[in-house]
Subunit: 143 residues, 2 copies
Amino acid sequence: MTTIAIASDHAGYEMKAQIASWLAGNGYEVLDLGCNGPDSVDYPDFAAALAAAVNGKRAERGVLICGSGIGISIAANRHPGIRAALVHDVTTARLARQHNDANVVALGARIIGAEIAKDCVDAFLTTDFEGGERHSRRIAKMG
Amino acid sequence: MTTIAIASDHAGYEMKAQIASWLAGNGYEVLDLGCNGPDSVDYPDFAAALAAAVNGKRAERGVLICGSGIGISIAANRHPGIRAALVHDVTTARLARQHNDANVVALGARIIGAEIAKDCVDAFLTTDFEGGERHSRRIAKMG
């Protein structure tokens, strides 16, 4: 079973619960790294926990959620090996896999609704990297 | 005069020209770091050049453009000190400044049109960081 790590800050924890439930209902193992309530937390801490899980191969891919998706995606991309794509729709979720081989998808819980978010995660998890030397070279340059 | 650095890959160079022209017409000094044509280039190289310009204080802020905005935003955020926000609309451009004190905005030339892109850049350049200990603490944690 494919394991998907998921983490959020306080602005994203309700959407995180919805996505985690959807993942579990669609055949994925869910590694929930918090947070688990409305108390204010710092998104870089949760981005770091998820980056460690993906880089440590405890999860194949990750889902990160904060209010806009911006802060948590910046924080995640500080970690070499993590390619966190902030997406707003299925198109960008698909392209993040096809061209960038993204291993983390970032969502803004105050920007998109739960149904759009689920479709983004679905596209992210079911789209293959299209490969090709040019894409692989660019990914390698980022580290 | 405020200097804005701008860079793109081949997928973004036409939008880059449009944004550069708009910036120059709106009272900004433009530091154009390429690319300057349709020949295929690697977005991490242009993200690195722009990150160096912003971190080296040759520009106050930066604008990055690739096809989806995803690759170039991931690459930019590999550089400590750079907070590159991938935005799709004025709302996320505004939030990137208010909450994340983003110093770089990333745009997808194949995702949004030129008028939306200009409005995003305008919001990014004219919105102040709202400050506050919690936002500043999170930014400091990212480095």
